[in-house]
């Protein structure tokens, strides 16, 4: 007897049934198809998907159940005590029923396999082999459609291949909440489509449904395209080659590809993924299957945003700036020597060396920078934060975040309520969004958004809004009774985003609120490397392993492990990114070592560029030419994620380790730092990723006291005057990020940049939906179409870094600032346009 679950284990009610003569005990309510699977009996299926609600549409999974008049769809049938089931293995009725369905599925399916993207990994092809006939009895005309229909720039649909299993529409509806594709028409002309104006207005040429070549042209104006950040999942779960990704279509055959497990490098969600490559080139990426993290999903950014690594501006050799003032390719030894000399001079000079590491490093590389700064450069002037930040945040990270793994995806599943502040999960951590939505759909889970308005993402979570004017969040967290009440429920979560750092007192209030209510607190940064950088010590106040710089015990522990003389690690906290930038801009920084940081991301990009221009000496470790490398004195090429092994630490604090996918000569940051350190006479020991892992993994827990949580009080939201408003802003998932360059199909599904403003303000300005509105500061102005939204009066929202809306560069401010708002475009030359690099 096989036990799919141990009877009575963890209180699960069980039933005992027989499948193909084998007695099996399974949880009550389990689906027959799943229980059979666990016995190793594979029942063919199309519409069934373990993460979607049962549909019973394709009828491929029919089995015989004793006492039932008709064959039963095993994907919809729950198991019952005493049930006697016979699958195709033991029942001629089931076998015939399955063969019959397979034959019917194939009558209208083209004989396309030799040129279909799915051929070789196609459930239809495979199951036609296992379940189908060897020859066809169908002698009539197959259904035809013009091909393909572009249901978005990313996803194409070849309708004649579709088996109408509805996995794609069910995914979009149930999982993502984006009902942009649906079944249209009926009978044999039933098809997946997007919403089309003309389909409803009647003047579209349409022929009878049974005529071959039934008309539906490709995308037309008035269509409502498939607007979703998760559309790629439909391509992955389509059991035939009907849905294809534009980027991959016709580029490779599955059997020519090598598949390597990998981890997404974009956001802090930590998605497992599969990278498929051929002869050293990545052809596509898919969501990996990790039930604890991303289940079987990912977002379109993770799936399709990988061309940056093969862009034509990739740096392949070191470069040094010679007497002519230009960068020239150089040998490694020359570049290393030059770098070491410049850094040594700066280190021993008046102003020292700073290190900016950004949020994209693996935890191994981040650790190498943290150690390099302390050991080789003898400084705590290191900061990973390449965005608006605060000292309060550094204390919050050191006291409340570092090393913690208190909140996991499973906690979201089990939570009763969540308060989300300073974070737009759908835009900034898409898989966390899907988990929140899963919990919401299951029921018994309520989301409260502390935000200026309910975004589309929050609407899909049916969230309650605690309306916040940017800057006022701290007060709300401290005083709002709804928020505290919600968080007092057992199993409640307080989820804060990195943007809360820009609200004075915000993170202090969050930590205090969590302590006061007993809610678990999670900090969700935006980038894959952010959390690892905290744990690895890429902060001016934190050494690796959460060791506070100011604690002698902490420094002594590290000096012991690193085999240093006392006093090498400075005892005072270093400078933050903002302080380093400010100091460098006025010549008070001897040198900067910069990893993949885009100055456009920093709080004040103009000042950051000045800093890069005026710093005494600039070393850049980069994958591609950038605003930093262009200004550097020495440039070292480093490996993109796909060409190195490493780990990210996701927002949960979970280690996401991956191996190298493509073998190239590119080196990790850690290895380059190791070589520079060697020139400086320091054995960094980070040349090999396994060595770094051993060292990092072997760091003992610190005995030093933790940093005290910050106690900064809020100052409230700014009060705008006439013609002014408080700025709200955050990133769109798909924006001008450098890691999305070159992925034009992906860019086609970016959300349209708009200025959001409330009805009252719009009326005062006399603007209607879609009219141009200008948002400006002393520095510049940007003009976008108006989207009238339920916003508090006196607040405007624009995306942070989208085409036509490069807030930091153009306006020089961030959320919470007071900006000028006016109708129409500004007189004179338009100051703002897309980001310049």
């Amino acid at each position: 007897m096989a036990d799919v679950v141990k009877a009575g284990s963890n209180g699960v009610e069980t039933v005992t049934l027989t499948i193909d003569g084998v007695e099996v005990t399974a949880p009550k309510g389990a689906l027959l198809i799943r229980v059979a699977e666990q016995l190793g009996i594979e029942i063919p299926r199309f519409c069934d998907h373990p993460l979607l609600a049962p549909a019973g549409a394709c009828r491929q999974c029919l089995v015989e159940v004793e006492g039932q008049r008709k064959p039963v769809a095993s994907c919809t049938q729950t198991v019952a005590d005493g049930m006697v089931v016979k699958t195709q293995l033991t029942s001629p009725v089931a076998k015939k029923a399955q063969a019959g369905i397979m034959e019917l599925l194939l009558i209208n399916h083209p004989l396309d396999c030799p040129m279909c993207d799915k051929g070789g990994e196609c459930p239809l092809q495979n199951q036609a082999m296992s379940t189908g006939r060897t020859d066809t009895r169908f002698h009539d005309h197959k259904r035809e459609y013009p091909k393909p229909v572009a249901i978005s720039t990313q996803v194409l649909l070849d309708r004649e291949r579709c088996v109408l299993c509805q996995r794609c529409t069910r995914f979009s509806d149930e999982i993502a909440g984006d009902r942009f594709i649906d079944l249209m028409d009926r009978s044999a002309a039933e098809q997946i489509g997007v919403y089309r104006d003309d389909a409803f207005s009647g003047d579209h040429p349409r022929s009878a449904i049974d005529e071959p070549g039934y008309e539906q042209e490709t995308a037309e104006p008035g269509d409502e395209p498939f607007n979703s950040y998760f559309s790629g999942n439909t391509v992955q779960i389509c059991p035939v080659g009907a849905l294809t990704g534009t980027q991959y279509r016709f580029r490779a055959r599955p059997f020519d590809l090598v598949s390597s497990p990998s981890v997404c490098e974009h956001c802090s969600a930590g998605c497992a993924q599969r990278t498929d490559h051929r002869r050293g080139k990545v052809m596509r990426r898919l969501a990996g299957d990790d039930p604890a993290v991303n289940e079987e999903w990912n977002c379109d950014k993770g799936r399709w945003g990988f061309r940056y690594a093969t862009a034509s501006d990739r740096i392949t050799n070191p470069m040094v700036r010679r007497e002519d003032g230009e960068l020239h390719e150089a040998s490694w030894s020359e570049a290393l020597e030059m770098a070491a000399e410049g850094l040594r001079n700066a280190r021993d000079g008046a102003y020292g060396v700073g290190v900016l590491t950004g949020g994209r490093l693996t935890v191994e590389d981040a650790y190498a920078y943290a150690k390099f700064a302390r050991v080789a450069l003898r400084t705590n002037d290191i900061d990973f934060r390449a965005r608006p930040l605060s000292n309060e945040e550094a204390d919050f990270l050191g006291s409340t975040v570092v090393g913690g793994t208190d909140v996991t995806y499973a906690d979201v599943d089990a939570a009763s309520a969540a308060v989300v502040v300073g974070l737009e999960p759908e835009e900034e951590c898409p898989i966390l969004f899907l988990r929140l939505r899963k919990a919401y759909r299951k029921g018994g889970f309520a989301v409260t958004a502390v935000a200026p308005f309910l975004s589309r993402g929050f609407t899909k979570l049916d969230a309650a809004l605690v309306e916040a004017v940017p800057g006022g969040e701290a007060d709300l967290l401290r005083d709002d009774p709804r928020v505290a009440e919600t968080l007092r429920a057992p199993g409640a979560l307080l989820i804060v985003g990195e943007r809360l750092a820009t609200v004075p007192g915000g993170l202090s209030a969050a930590a205090e609120l969590a302590a006061r209510t007993g809610a678990k607190l999670a900090w969700v940064p935006r980038r894959a490397g952010d959390r690892g950088a905290v744990d690895a010590g890429c902060l001016p106040n934190l050494l690796p392993g959460g060791r506070p710089v100011i604690e002698a015990t902490a420094r002594a522990e590290l000096a012991g492990i690193w085999d240093l003389e006392a006093g090498i690690i400075p005892s005072r906290p270093g400078r933050s990114t903002d302080q380093m930038v400010a100091d460098a801009a006025v010549g008070r920084l001897g040198a900067l070592v910069v990893a993949g940081v885009d100055p456009a991301d920093l709080a004040d990009p103009r000042l950051a560029e000045q800093a890069l221009d005026n710093v005494g000496f600039l070393v850049s470790l980069e994958v591609r030419r950038s605003a930093v490398s262009r200004r550097a004195d020495v440039v070292f090429p480093v490996a993109p994620v796909v060409e190195k092994a490493g780990s990210f630490v996701d927002w949960e604090g979970r280690l996401r380790t991956f191996d190298r996918v493509l073998t190239t000569t590119a080196m990790t940051d850690a290895r380059v730092l190791d070589a520079i350190a060697a020139q400086l006479g320091v054995a960094l020991g980070t040349g090999d990723v396994n060595a770094v892992r051993r060292e990092l993994g072997g760091l003992p827990a610190t005995r030093a006291d933790r940093i005290e949580p910050p106690r900064v009080s809020g100052i409230g939201a700014a009060r705008p005057g006439d013609g002014e408003a408080v700025l709200a802003t955050w990133h769109h998932l798909i924006d001008l990020s450098r890691l999305l360059e070159g992925d034009e199909y992906l860019a086609g599904t970016a959300r349209v940049p708009v200025v959001r403003l409330g009805k009252v303000l719009a009326e005062r300005l006399g603007v209607a939906e879609g009219d141009p509105v200008t948002v400006g500061t002393e520095r510049g102005a940007l003009t976008l179409p108006a989207a009238i939204t339920e916003l508090p009066d006196g607040v405007v929202w624009v995306p942070t870094n989208s085409p036509g809306a490069t807030v930091r560069r153009t306006l020089g401010v961030t959320a919470g600032a007071v900006v000028k708002v006016s109708a129409g475009a500004p007189a004179g030359p338009i100051l703002a346009s897309g980001g310049s690099r």
Binding site: C58, R59, I101, L104, H141, V163, S187
Partner: protein
């Protein structure tokens, strides 16, 4: 039955007519509330509102009333499934989609006597504790919808609908909703999806409408004929109702006769009457025609032949003859009609109306229609007949809902009784009925 001239029905056959639901049809203007009230209208409602709802459910159980929508499910039992005191809203939905080919009993009822339906709705809603009811009427039936809307308006004005009906404290709102003309929206769960504003496709069961129906709340879906029977049972009592019909198929039934008979129309008789008697009531076959095949209850019920003239037309009798009582829509075909062509036309209907959700119905009908087109244009093969039967076997009991099952009925039954007619096309004895234009592209 012989092909003779129009006959006058004999007295003993005439006595088989039991006009109950049809009794007002010939009264002029019975669709107006004042006329309806004069003809016993709304008397049952007053009586019902004085009773406990549970007593009404028991009454309907006792009467043995079975659903008139085709499946013959016991109505009282269905009402009894509605959970009580569950804190959820309850709904009553009347299925007035009447799409089964040959069926024409609900539309004339709503045209001639709409208030009997409205009265039935109020009583049924009261019994199941629903305060909202819907009549989902076929989109093309604009005339009947108009009559019905007018009746609902009149009923509101007279205080039979709305708040505190007749001072009983019972509230009910009734909405007449026009569908968009899809046969599948007569299937009760597709109907509910359509009513909710979605694409009409059948839902997965369980959960059943009794617990998760309209807007996921307990819902009773009943046919027009079922609900319209209720006031008569309330007035006449269960015992009286059972004086008509047979033990397991009680009451009167409206038989819709169409085709090669002298006087097509609706004949309300006790359940269990035979086709022989019905034809006599309808004045016999049309001159020059003799019966060859017929449907007992719409095109989804397997064909019967002249051998079956004396089969009692109740649920059990027709089942014993290998068919289904269905909607008692008897379509009558003669020796001048071709069973192959008739089947083909029906199949075109099922093919066109398949909702597309499940593989067997969507693809199977697509295929079979094409095989028929080939056979009827003189290009059929012997293998085609096996393919048709086997395809039916792959659809029947494999499809998601009854539409797919129903589509196989004419195919299998015509092949059972009239295989020779098929062979005549295949072997060239019958001239092709379709030109090979229908086959463009076939290979």
């Amino acid at each position: 039955m012989s092909a003779t001239a129009v006959t006058v029905p004999r007295r003993e056959v005439l006595e088989k007519l039991t006009p109950v639901l049809t009794k007002r049809w010939l009264s002029p203007d019975a669709w107006r509330i004042d006329v309806y009230e004069r003809l016993d209208g709304y008397a049952a409602l007053r009586k019902a509102l004085a009773a406990h709802p549970d007593a009404l459910i028991q009454l309907i159980k006792d009467s043995g009333l079975r659903g008139r929508g085709g499946a013959g499910f016991p109505t009282g039992l269905k009402w009894g499934f509605i959970p009580q005191n569950d804190g959820k809203p309850h709904y009553l939905v009347v299925n007035a989609d009447e799409g089964e080919p040959g069926t024409c009993k609900d539309l004339p009822l709503m045209m001639h006597d709409p208030h009997s339906l409205v009265e039935g709705v109020i009583i049924a809603a009261y019994a199941i504790r629903a305060d909202r009811a819907y009549i989902y009427i076929r989109g093309e039936a604009v005339h009947a919808a108009r009559r019905l809307r007018n009746a609902v308006k009149e009923a509101y004005a007279a205080g039979y609908l709305g708040r505190n009906i007749l001072g009983s404290g019972f509230d009910l709102d009734l909405v007449v909703h026009s569908g968009a003309g899809a046969y599948i929206c007569g299937e009760e769960t597709a109907l509910l999806d359509s009513l909710e504003g979605f694409r009409g496709q059948p839902r997965l069961r369980p959960p059943f409408p009794a617990t998760h129906g309209l807007y996921a709340s307990p819902t009773v879906v009943n046919n027009v004929g079922t609900i319209s029977s209720v006031p008569y049972i309330v007035l006449g009592g269960a015992a009286w109702w059972k004086t008509m019909g047979t033990e397991k198929s009680s009451g009167p039934m409206i038989y819709s006769l169409s085709g090669r008979i002298a006087n097509p129309g609706q004949y309300e008789c006790s359940l269990g009457i035979t086709l022989r008697e019905l034809i006599e009531l309808a004045g016999g076959m049309q001159p020059g025609h003799s019966l060859r095949f017929w449907t007992p209850g719409g095109s989804s019920t397997p064909l019967l032949t002249a051998e079956h003239l004396d089969v009692p037309l109740d649920f059990e009798g027709v089942a014993a003859a290998g068919s289904i009582l269905g909607t008692t829509a008897t379509q009558i075909f003669s020796d001048q009609d071709c069973p192959v062509y008739a089947t083909y036309r029906w199949l075109e209907f099922y093919y066109h109306e398949s909702c597309g959700k499940c593989t067997p119905c969507r693809e199977g009908n697509y295929w079979m229609v094409r095989v028929y087109r080939r056979i009827l244009s003189g290009q059929g093969t012997y293998e085609d007949l096996d393919t048709l039967l086997d395809t039916c076997d792959n659809i029947l009991g494999r499809a998601f809902c009854g539409l797919g099952d129903g589509a196989t009925s004419p195919v299998t039954s015509s092949l059972k009784y009239f295989k020779q007619d098929y062979l005549d096309y295949i072997e060239g004895r019958t001239a092709p009925k379709l030109s090979d234009k229908a086959l463009v592209g076939a290979h």
